[in-house]
């Protein structure tokens, strides 16, 4: 009898080592320890419950649950030294009962291996006290993004309304959802009715939700698949999921666009083109938009040559970095405006006043603003000698002699006054 027991013990150890070595050869050991009766071991959404340990028969009842179902997927009675294998997300999990122990709460020593543990969610791996009913199971939200257009056939210049909706069709809520909707080539965004919602949570209980609503104007003919709207998100336990992407509706655009442009007529007039030195010239800058699009960021710089001095007048003309400048945020179609200014003729000579103007406009086709600029130069301005300039052109003695004479007379009068003052 004693001999038989020794033989049995040796055979069991031998088998254990064979199994261990076999398990090690076939997969990764996930667990090799005892589990109390009533507790379980969770692998992803599967829970291996140790339902009952029967030490007298050296057997263990194992129930394997999938998800939150209360009905076990597998119910097995496994004897010590025996094992059970089942499939889990494409991998094989092997459960071997090493031994059982009788105590107040019976327990079994299990060796659990898996062929590849890459699929394992480590946050859900481990012994679950209370078994499957206490397991914290992961969920898989699935975002169905739908992008629709109100028309699929249109002409250039027409406006199409794009509506993007989302629905969570998974088994768990999606968290920290961030949508992305890239701009559409050959279209101009004309009205952003419902903009980006930012980071949101989308519950499986939520109805279909509008994410984006906007109007786009077609600027070019062709057949266009609209860029998909994408979303990134996590589930309740913070697991990131592959990016969800919407469908790509097709829009067929026909015809050609009516291109528009702003065209500013800038004129500068002076009240005179011949002026005496030290006199003022009065001028007017006139601006008129003769184009069919409004202009914006209208900038007109007045280039004043040396010899002339800007003297201001109209407060709308500001001095920016020493340059008299007119700046208008916007300038409508057919709008006209005049600015008056004064320039002082400082030095004799021939000059011209120049204007450098630039502005932006939307041509109705391109999404980017178009820029335009032009220069303007006045006729020649002749600054001639001032009325009293000749006074300053004489040799020094011309001033000195009268001054000396006046000084001498004053001195003489003072001298005589002193002579006769008692």
């Amino acid at each position: 009898m004693l001999h038989f027991r020794k033989t049995l013990t040796i055979a069991s150890l031998l088998m254990f080592f064979i199994l261990v070595s076999a398990g090690g050869a076939s997969g990764k050991v996930l667990y090799n320890d005892t589990i109390d009766e009533g507790d379980g071991y969770q692998i992803n959404d599967y829970v291996i419950d140790v339902a009952e340990v029967v030490p007298q028969h050296e057997t263990v009842f194992i129930n394997i649950y999938e998800g939150d179902s209360d009905d076990p997927r597998y119910e097995k009675l496994i004897s010590v030294g025996s094992s059970f294998e089942f499939g889990l997300e494409g991998e094989n999990v092997d459960i071997t009962v090493i031994s059982v122990y009788s105590s107040e709460i019976p327990r079994a020593k299990l060796a659990i291996t898996i062929t590849d543990d890459d699929i394992i969610n480590s946050r859900t791996l481990g012994v679950v006290e209370g078994g499957h009913s206490e397991a914290e199971l992961s969920t898989t939200p699935v975002l169905a993004i739908n992008k629709v257009v109100d028309k699929s056939n249109m002409n250039v210049g027409d406006v199409v309304r794009v509506t993007v909706t989302v629905e969570n069709t998974g088994d768990g809520d999606a968290f920290d959802v961030i949508f992305s909707d890239p701009p559409q080539e050959k279209f101009i965004l004309v009205d952003d009715i419902l903009g980006s919602p930012g980071k949101v949570d989308i519950s499986i209980d939520d109805p279909v939700k509008k994410i984006y609503v906007y109007d786009m104007k077609a600027t070019e003919a062709g057949t266009f698949s609209l860029n998909p709207t994408t979303a990134i998100f996590t589930n309740s336990i913070g697991e990131s999921f592959p990016m969800a992407s919407s469908n790509q509706p097709t829009v067929i655009v026909e015809g050609s666009a009516d291109q528009v442009s702003a065209s500013l007529e800038v004129e500068m007039e002076l009240d005179s083109y011949t002026v005496d030195r030290n006199e003022d010239l009065h001028g007017t800058i006139s601006i008129r938009n003769v184009g069919d699009a409004p202009a914006s960021a209208v900038n007109i710089n007045m280039i004043i040559p040396e010899g002339l001095e800007y003297k201001g007048d109209d407060p709308s003309i500001e001095i920016i970095s020493g340059v008299p400048t007119v700046y208008l945020d916007s300038f409508g179609i057919q709008q006209e405006k005049e600015f008056s200014f004064k320039v002082k003729a400082k030095e004799v000579g021939t000059y011209t006043l120049s204007l450098e103007n630039s502005y932006l406009y939307n041509d109705g086709i391109n999404s980017r603003m178009q820029s335009a600029s032009s220069d303007l130069m006045t006729n020649r301005i002749y600054v001639t000698k001032g009325k009293y300039d000749y006074l300053f052109e004489q040799p020094v003695y011309v001033y000195l002699v009268p001054l000396l004479i006046i000084g001498a007379i004053a001195g003489w009068i003072y001298h005589r006054h002193k002579q006769y003052k008692f």
């Binding site: 009068i413 005589r416 006054h417 006769y420 003052k421 008692f422």
Partner: protein, 368 residues
């Protein structure tokens, strides 16, 4: 060229001196002193002396350096005795000023006989001059209006006597009483008299230092002034239109031309007649007949003729007097004035009415 010293003593002398200086500018505007020069033919030095600084300040055409202020309050108050003391105290100062001006050929001292400073300074100044210098000194003395008061009449009487006794070489009289006939207000009358005197004196200086067709010089003037009683006056006429030279000479000898009331043909002792004008007016026969007429009465007449082209006739006469009935009249009035003043003073001394009033409280003290 003659070296002439003219001194104006006191307010009257100062004003006549200023009038002379103004005339020397050529009757130009009040600004003439700033751009013009006084035009004396001779080397003329002018000095104004006064104890009243305000009188000196009134002078506008006399240089500051020619004005000597003798500090004694604001004048001597018409008191000749005070004036004499002030002069003695300041004699050295005055003479130093005079001597600094150089040597002279003749001096004229202009003064009023009636005032304080002039009437008291002039006799003493002449006396000092005669002791120090050997050039002739003539006093031009202005007599007061008769109604100016007893003090002035008294001063005039004593002043004239003192001047005559000072060794003066001659006294030229100008009488305000006689000259007031020109009318006008007080200021214009005084200015008019001053101008008259100034013009005559300048004419005389011009004549004594001019080249003449017929010569009268300083020597002749001295001879004229030595004649008579040491008293003289000057007559002058300046035609403002063409006039026969005979008429001009007569007008210069008439009361309207003289500075002192006298009957030339009765009271004059010697005479000098200086005639100036364009050659066409200087008919020798006319001149000679008038001069002869004058010499027939006064004895000797020095005659000078100055030819100045395009000038109307001007005649100056210097007349020394043997007698002066007008002066006698003045002295008889002055004697009354002196007696009146004397009696008044004696009354005050004898009666001592005011002292009696004060004597009633002798030995008493006030009680409070």
């Amino acid at each position: 060229m003659l070296n002439v010293l003219i001194i104006g003593n006191g307010q009257c002398g100062n004003r006549i001196l200023d009038a002379i200086n103004r005339e020397a500018f050529g009757k130009k505007s009040r600004f003439a002193k700033f751009y013009s020069q006084q035009k004396y033919k001779s080397n003329v030095q002018t000095i104004a002396i006064n104890t009243a600084i305000n009188d000196l300040r009134e002078m506008k055409f006399t240089k500051a350096r020619d004005r000597i202020h003798i500090p004694h309050l604001h004048g001597v108050g018409a008191n000749r005795n005070v004036g004499k003391h002030v002069f003695e105290d300041n004699k050295a100062h005055i003479m130093k000023h005079v001597e600094e001006r150089g040597n002279f050929d003749v001096a004229f001292i202009l003064t009023s006989a009636s005032g304080g400073t002039g009437s008291s300074f002039t006799p003493l100044l002449i006396k000092e001059f005669k002791q120090r210098f050997d050039f002739p000194v003539y006093a031009l003395v202005v007599l007061p209006f008769r109604e100016e008061g007893t003090l002035y009449l008294q001063n005039a009487a004593f002043c004239l006597r003192d001047i005559r006794e000072s060794g003066v070489d001659g006294i030229i009289l100008a009488d305000n009483q006689f000259l007031k006939q020109m009318g006008g207000n007080v200021e214009s009358a005084y200015n008019g008299i001053n101008d008259k005197i100034a013009r005559r004196l300048l004419f005389l200086l011009d004549a004594l230092d001019s080249e003449m067709m017929m010569v009268t010089d300083l020597g002749d003037f001295k001879t004229v002034m030595n004649g008579g009683a040491g008293l003289a006056t000057i007559g002058f006429y300046e035609a403002d239109s063409e006039i026969p030279i005979k008429s001009a000479i007569r007008k210069a000898l008439s009361p309207t031309g003289l500075l002192f009331s006298t009957d030339v043909y009765e009271e004059a002792s010697r005479s000098m007649v200086i005639i100036k004008g364009d050659r066409k007016y200087l008919g020798i026969d006319d001149i000679s007949s008038e001069v002869e007429k004058l010499s027939g009465s006064v004895g000797h007449v020095f005659k000078g003729i100055i030819v100045r082209n395009d000038e109307l006739p001007q005649v100056l006469t210097v007349l020394t007097l043997e007698s002066a009935s007008e002066l006698e009249n003045l002295y008889s009035i002055a004697v009354d004035a002196i007696n009146y003043e004397k009696q008044k003073k004696e009354r005050v001394i004898n009666e001592k009415e005011v002292d009696r009033a004060f004597s009633q409280i002798d030995g008493m003290d006030p009680s409070y």
